[in-house]
Symmetry: D2
Subunit: 396 residues, 4 copies
């Protein structure tokens, strides 16, 4: 059995703090598992909840020093920034509307930021955050975790090496079914803020999962959408944000031909748990990848039989091998892909210690990618309001 | 093993003729196998090719009486219409532009017509053909063969019984890859006429396979598109008709809610042989079906595990059982589905013998379905020319 | 779309009779559809049931001339043998114990025989039948229909060309679930005779489907079992024949190494409709094929990614292409594979007309293959009775 | 999205040491990731390699205190046992022949043991180890990691609740292909010791992966094999241990009926990376599970459509939910299943702190399970040497 390791385990782990992610949160626990898996982080501080009782209880559960469990992210940024052994990086895992204010104070306190997606709840905040990151000189990582999957890295390298020829089509779909009924009315926490414009922003499904779909398309192909035509719906009556979106895409021409694509996202399609699927077609071949079965990449060279490339298997390239922990046939999953982003971020943070430089070739999603995602959301919303008129991302 | 038969084999088979389908044709041979499988037809006449030599040779190969191998469909319609033992029905399997003129003369000669899709090459011909059928009182069957698959019949019954609740989403995709290169330039027969506006009409992929996709959606759900927004491309340079189409659909509201959908068809997507896939989502459940694996229908009742309904299996309903020949686990395929249309047509033709009535509950695709398909093609072409503006099917 | 045809349709179809296969029979209808599909046969006579009423009604339904609907196969053989336009071939689709007596009289009447499997109900009958065939000089085809699948032909050619290197392992499984309950006690026709030693012979599942499994293994690999160790069970209480069998195989050494294998057959495994699956492994590669999805063959060259070879697709070889009717992505099924045997038999029968010779390279299952299958059944039964002791096929 | 957490993250992590698992080892890194994922352990000591240089370098890489990087496991057991803050548990991840001597000294030093499988290299050692564990009163966990998969826990609960009725058949297969060529001759580390009787014991594939297959069967069904008939081969010439095994099983009767089964393991089957598959059939239903796609469990109630139960999905039971970290559709993998064993072990270790009792209902694989596995290996080897004679596990 061949074993490639994504990580050298860490003699000097990165000191990490967390904003949000208290008891009952889903994504906070994911970030913590991702940070732990490869052994590059030690969680030492937190402002885990806006509810002081929950914050305290959550911190105790995690074994945090009570002194470093803070009542607000502002206090945490200030005090940790001032400590000699203060946190080097913070994970922001709150609802969208808190990303910007939280990120800003940590960046200003000289602390690197790892932030959940989408970048912010408004395009205005997103633009301001880009400036805040630039000004700070700190690392900012947006956890578009699907880009951490080995087979996605494989696909990216194949496209970039020209294996598929010129790319003409990119099809992404991301159906779910967990919002098929108005569960936000029952107080379900995840559903409540995700269907609330004040906390999520102008996009519902298009923001929550559409940005993943779009980021994946651009990450793998290197293409960016020039314009979109979008038809957004709220199929559940009374819902304030979209729960289904049909989007046609026109990519910027690379050379002569203009690539096209579609994105379908839904949270009301029964039988789909988390059905993210990417298909890329070029003049010389095609690729297919399904997130629920992430260790497989289907590759068809035009005119030849389809091939099943597996993580850790014979057809895996360097990009895939570099983020593979265990041999083929021993499935890695969602947490491993997430952990890869954390591990790569830890590498960058260590390089930056003592004034060092960011490593070459880093492909972690950046604040600019986050801004691109926000433009995508806004362009889709704008287009849909204009009866699906083509809307340029640059224009929003 | 349970065995349900689609057919009572035939003591008095229907006398059939064929226009087109000579040596080298693909779909003609398919129609003949479909006609033979259940034993309800006997092929006795043909105008098998516009090339007299090929017509003759093809007829000989099929064992036709040389007297009944005709040089033109006009001659065939006239002479067979005049014979006491003349054909009762004709299969028209020519390129699209010949469907209308051929169908017209047979209908006028009192002969039932079984015609390949799409209905015609122009919307004008389609409308004229509707009138010709009405005037004739004869049976006209359009071979949208995918609607003959047992699991498609199953899906249709499930939707109509309300198993899925109110339908909100219909997603159809139909990618192929056989036109990824400009094989029409090499003289490949199938490719040549399908990329030629004079023989195919205004639609390329959208006509050839888009009509299948659209027909399947309407057949299963009972919904019709009110309007479409379409983006058509010819990715292969020099190609005169579209080889890829992205279509967003708005269905006519049934009750309160307006269902939406998308259709993606392509003939340039490497790795897809004939990837027709239908997904239907309602407020209570979802269905998925893939033509290449036609004996399976995936059904998810909202909030319950996904179920695999199989042709001939425990979950099959009456609609499926009625067109099932052999037990579950013994796969039926494309030819069987095609044969089901022929068998149902034979039943109707026998009922009509001697002035009888058409049987109740016949769900074979009609000339009106063909006109609907032509409207769909035209609306997509018109929309695409108007930068994907929403275009009403009624308006074309 | 590329189209390869398995058949030149027939100007002079073979005149066919049938023994068994009256109303309510499953396999008789299958044989008739298989005979019709490619247009090489015309069914003109039958002894369709041992029940005279049912025989008559069945014949009427099929449109047989009442004069040629016979009360017994003996009468049929005699009268048809004497007619100038008598049948050239007969299909025998009765329970197993009638195969031998029926085949014998037709062979003696100079009529070719197409016979369902297994060959007979006893090894003694099987040996006698081999002699009867030899003596007659007539064609005898055993309908091991799974060997008609294009992807099985593909696999056979690949093995014979050495693509897999030296074969070391052959794994076949054939689970079903239709006998998981004692439905023979309810009078279910298929179940009744299949669980009755008098009509089926000494083997239950091992005879009914084990022979298919074994034949497929030998057909694809060219290997024959030297000895077997078998553990047979009747899990349903009161059942008189096995409904589950575990068999270990040692193949005859070809060159140095002795290949091994296993066969698992079951009729009591819930969730398996007709789960025939074949896997062949050699020193250079492996193959996998699943009957329920017969258009796919998985091929892995050692040390390379797995490839999906499809019927009609880019990787199909001549053996597959030769029995392919329609393009890739348009699934063919069980009936098409069955029809291929009939079509090949028709070719042979026509060659033999007027004293011609059997065509070269015919690979239809023969009476010797049937005898081999009977030895396999008997060896398994004998082994199981001896506590799974290794039992040589030659020794039974 | 519903989220169930397998763990309360840890305020007071378990102090862990490791024997083996230095640079270049595969399974050591796996154990460390498994120990880290849920945050219940802190690795503080190690005897990471028998090569002192490698031990030192490995320890540095992991950030161990150099004082607690030991040159031998004996020294480590002694010194850690004597420290106030010494390790509470040790992970033993050496080749098989070192399991017993290492485990013994740690148990004697009052340290809990987490040990890789198979238990030992000889049955004699295994029996001695059982006694050593009993004498010590310490926890001993054998990392049969596949039993940590949520869908395996689901299956176990379903069987135990009688959902499948009485179990009649258990089919396990575990094919791989990584030893299809004699890579042990090239010095490949994993291959070298696994094909070396001195380090592995009497079983090759049957020991390395056969024990996983057998353990999984017994874990899910609660059945134990009474006897086996096994045919072991070394297909690669010159190999000293088996690389392929066919095993027929007779389980101990539970109530009236005796269940049967088969196990096939191979390391020479091209196209199989790590193809562990379990199928269990009872009188009322069947289950299927494939390790490479571990988030799915197929369940067929007899006479109903097959259902796809997913980890985190609607059909998941308490046993599955209890070990699920993230929502359905977000795949968990091999490391998560492995981590579940570590997390459960941590729970037990904490309960035992200060003289507490082991928690009720613990289902972690024990030293007795390890002995059962050793009996299975030995019985298979013995049977194979006796031409596959039935061999009782109790008798070896």
């Amino acid at each position: 059995m061949v074993s490639a390791s994504a990580s050298t385990e860490a003699a000097s782990p990165v000191r990490l703090g967390m904003v949000g992610g208290g008891q009952g949160a889903f994504i906070g626990a994911v970030h913590r598992m991702a940070a732990r898996l490869d052994g590059h982080y030690t969680l030492v501080a937190g402002a885990l909840s806006s509810d002081p009782e929950r914050a305290k209880a959550s911190a105790a559960e995690l074994g945090l020093d009570p002194e470093r469990s803070y009542g607000s992210f502002e206090e945490m940024a200030q005090k940790e920034g001032a400590r000699k052994d203060g946190i080097e990086a913070v994970s922001i895992v709150t609802p969208n509307h808190m990303h910007y204010p939280a990120a800003k104070v940590f960046l200003e306190a000289g602390i690197h930021v790892i932030c959940d997606k989408p970048l912010t709840s408004t395009l205005k905040d997103a633009k301001a955050l880009v400036q805040a990151v630039e000004k700070s000189g700190k690392l900012f990582v947006l956890t578009h975790n699907y880009s951490g999957y080995p087979m996605i890295r494989q696909a990216r390298q194949m496209v970039s090496e020209g294996t598929l020829g010129e790319i003409v089509l990119v099809q992404v779909e991301y159906p779910q079914d967990w919002l098929a009924e108005p569960i936000e009315e029952t107080g379900q926490k995840q559903a409540s803020w995700r269907t609330d414009p004040a906390r999520s922003g102008a996009g519902g499904a298009i923001g929550d999962i559409g940005t993943h779909a779009y980021q994946l398309a651009t990450f793998v192909t290197g293409l960016k959408a020039e314009s979109v035509a979008a038809d957004l719906d709220s199929f559940v009556s009374g819902r304030r944000l979209d729960d289904n979106a049909h989007v046609m895409l026109r990519f910027g021409a690379k050379g002569g031909r203009q690539a096209k694509g579609t994105i379908w996202v839904s949270q009301v399609a029964p039988g789909n748990e988390n059905g993210l699927k990417l298909r890329v077609y070029g003049t010389k071949g095609g690729l297919e990848w399904v997130q629920a079965d992430p260790n497989y990449l289907w590759y068809t060279p035009l005119g030849e039989p389809k091939r099943l490339i597996t993580r850790g298997g014979a057809g895996a390239n360097e990009a895939a091998a570099g983020v593979t922990r265990i041999p083929g046939g021993h499935p890695e999953g969602y947490l491993e892909a997430f952990a890869t982003l954390y591990t790569e971020a830890a590498g960058a943070i260590r390089s930056l210690r003592g004034g060092g430089k960011q490593p070459e070739g880093l492909i972690l999603p950046t604040v600019e990618d986050g801004l691109e995602g926000m433009r995508f959301i806004q362009a889709c919303v704008t287009s849909s309001q204009a009866d699906a008129a083509w809307t340029r991302l640059e224009a929003v």
